[in-house]
């Protein structure tokens, strides 16, 4: 769609992301001997997802909430786009930072469209600009336009979480804070929402601080992961590969788990693998007119068996799990609209794991 009037249309994202820097940021509560967050220093490059992960009580949520001053910093500083958050008026600062929480926190008395338009309203956007933006965001987050006139109670948990993300993106903030955003969603929908969100992030490129207690989610979502220990002590900060291949200490090694080699499967997506063509499989794949896989047919016997489809944006770990669960060697990989893009096999995944896994551990085939 072309937007003739650029002043009316924000596009997926017009604001460039800003880098974020924690500079020995410390939070001390009166009466407590240990700080909740202890001199946390880390840099998040513009447009990256930084995941704060650790056991409960490790101060990850506190650290995140210091960014938009929901919790005030005791010592140290946090710089947003090179500017200290301490110099900014909290309400104005918060309007510039997207905010998504686990319980979503939609306003029950306002329609979905009104919820999404919360911050635009605070900033005094006129009605037509707000409506235009709401339409855009419903599209962007995969919600039907008619949802706009419903109330939060009429939506499913997954839909509410999408609205939460749309609402946080409303004024196209350069930075977003997300506190266990998919924590209250059932596992199947969580996987879908994670994939959707990553697809969305490719388009909007925000700097994101993402809090979770789930290391698998951290590996899947993070460009960088910060592992925190109780008392907000940073144990390691780096790319997921680095944490998995070279854990800095025993705490990190324990936290990422004994299945580190398998977790590397979470770093790759199905589309990153050199997929097979249907000819390389000893079965014939039936497709409908839109190239959607229908069934496998045995060329000799002629009988059909159901086909397993795999989303091309899935991570390899989930795809392998699906293959194992359905006791099949092959999965038909499809794009967002369900059209065939290639074939994934257990053999392909094995080949992907084999060369490097041998290097770091003594597992051999």
């Amino acid at each position: 769609m072309t937007a003739p009037d650029t002043a009316q249309s924000e596009g997926p994202s017009a604001t460039p992301a800003e880098p974020l820097e924690f500079r020995a940021a410390t939070k001390r509560y009166g009466g407590a001997t240990e700080p909740a967050v202890d001199a946390l220093s880390l840099e998040v490059p513009a447009g990256d997802i930084c995941v704060l992960v650790g056991p409960s009580g490790c101060g990850k949520t506190t650290a995140m909430r210091m960014v938009n001053r929901m919790i005030d910093i005791t010592e140290g500083d946090i710089l947003l786009g090179g500017r200290s958050v301490r110099d900014r008026e909290p309400a104005a600062l918060r309007r510039d930072i997207g905010y998504v929480i686990q319980q979503v926190g939609l306003f029950p008395h306002r329609t979905i469209a009104q919820n999404i338009a919360t911050v635009p309203e605070l900033l005094g956007w006129d009605r037509s600009r707000r409506e235009e933006r709401v339409r855009e965001l419903l599209d962007l987050t995969g919600l039907e336009q008619e949802m706009g006139s419903r109330y939060p109670a009429q939506l499913s948990g997954g839909q509410r979480q999408r609205v939460g993300v749309a609402r946080a993106l409303a004024v196209d903030p350069p930075v977003m804070l997300m506190d266990e955003p998919f924590g209250a969603i059932d596992p199947i929908n969580r996987e879908r929402l994670q994939n959707e969100f990553l697809r969305l992030q490719e388009r909007v490129r925000k700097t994101i601080v993402f809090v979770t207690h789930d290391i698998d989610e951290a590996i899947k979502m993070g460009d960088r992961i910060a592992i925190l220990q109780r008392g907000g002590k940073l144990q390691q900060y780096g790319a997921p590969e680095e944490l998995l291949m070279h854990p800095a200490n025993d705490f990190v090694r324990d936290f990422v788990g004994a299945d580190r080699a398998l977790k590397r499967l979470a770093l790759m997506r199905v589309r990153d693998v050199n997929l097979w063509t249907p000819d390389e499989v000893p079965f014939e794949l039936e497709l409908d007119a839109d190239r959607r896989p229908q069934a496998w047919r045995d060329p000799q016997g002629g009988q059909s068996t159901p086909v397993l489809t795999v989303d091309r944006d899935d991570i390899l770990r989930d795809a392998l799990s699906d293959l194992l669960l359905s006791e099949t060697q092959y999965g038909a990989v499809v794009d967002e609209s369900g059209r065939l893009t290639g074939i994934l096999s257990v053999e392909l995944i094995h080949d992907f794991l084999a060369p490097e896994a041998v290097g770091s551990t003594n597992e051999s085939p």
């Binding site: 309400a91 510039d96 306003f107 008395h109 109330y151 009429q154």
Partner: protein
């Protein structure tokens, strides 16, 4: 206007023309009532006036108290205690206590009736504000709503069902209590009721008008509430 009507209404012969046997026997005679309905117009309007003004002032006071106590929690105890005492005082005693200060008339009655509404309205408004989901509040603050915006745009709208429930109870109660306002010289339906309490027709219809008023006011508040809280019907 009501004061003018009050002056025009002379006390003599208020219930004089009792000629037919049903009436002379103090029986139940609907025909008499509908023939003399104009005698109840002024007391009825006085009653409406007392209820609406008392609940209105009571709500204004209780609203300010509840919003203040919502942020300054230490106020909850003292305010509950004081409004609780006002609520327990017998209304007739309160009228007589106030008479030397404010004299006979509307002011005395309205002060006393207002006092009775405070506890209910305060507690319901506060309970409504307290029932706002914590996550909605957190999200609101996190998006940059100031405390004032949070109150007016999020907390008060969500407290509306509880606030309106409080208004309904307070209004119904006040309709009943206002029947005693004639002790303070403020008229109301209690006056004709008391004047001819042996006459069944009078008692039934004056009392019936009280009930009717309570039902109608209650229905009006309910309709306003449904109009103001469309989300509560979205399942």
């Amino acid at each position: 206007m009501i004061a003018a009507a009050l002056l025009a209404q002379s006390d003599n012969g208020f219930f004089r023309e009792r000629t037919d046997s049903c009436v002379t026997d103090n029986g139940f005679c609907p025909g008499w009532f509908f023939g003399h309905i104009d005698r109840y117009t002024t007391p009825f309007l006085q009653h409406v006036f007392l209820v609406v003004v008392s609940v209105g002032i009571g709500f204004a006071i209780a609203f300010v108290l509840a919003v203040t106590a919502h942020r300054r929690r230490w106020l909850v105890g003292p305010v509950t205690n004081i409004t609780g005492i006002l609520y327990t005082l017998p209304s007739v005693a309160l009228f007589f206590l106030l008479l030397p200060i404010t004299g006979r008339g509307n002011v005395t009655a309205i002060i006393a009736l207002t006092g009775y509404t405070l506890l209910i309205l305060f507690r319901n408004t506060l309970a409504g504000l307290d029932s706002v989901p914590e996550d909605a509040r957190d999200a609101g603050r996190g998006m940059g709503l100031t405390e004032r915006q949070l109150l007016w745009r999020v907390e008060l709208p969500l407290a509306l069902p509880a606030i309106m429930a409080g208004l309904r109870i307070a209004t119904t109660t006040t309709v009943g209590l206002a029947a005693l306002a004639f002790f303070a010289g403020a008229g109301g339906l209690g006056e004709p009721l008391e004047a001819q309490k042996a006459f069944k027709t009078n008692v039934v219809f004056a009392g019936g008008l009280c009930v009717l008023l309570a039902v109608v006011l209650d229905a009006i508040i309910l309709i306003v509430q449904r109009f103001m809280t469309p989300w509560t019907r979205a399942a």
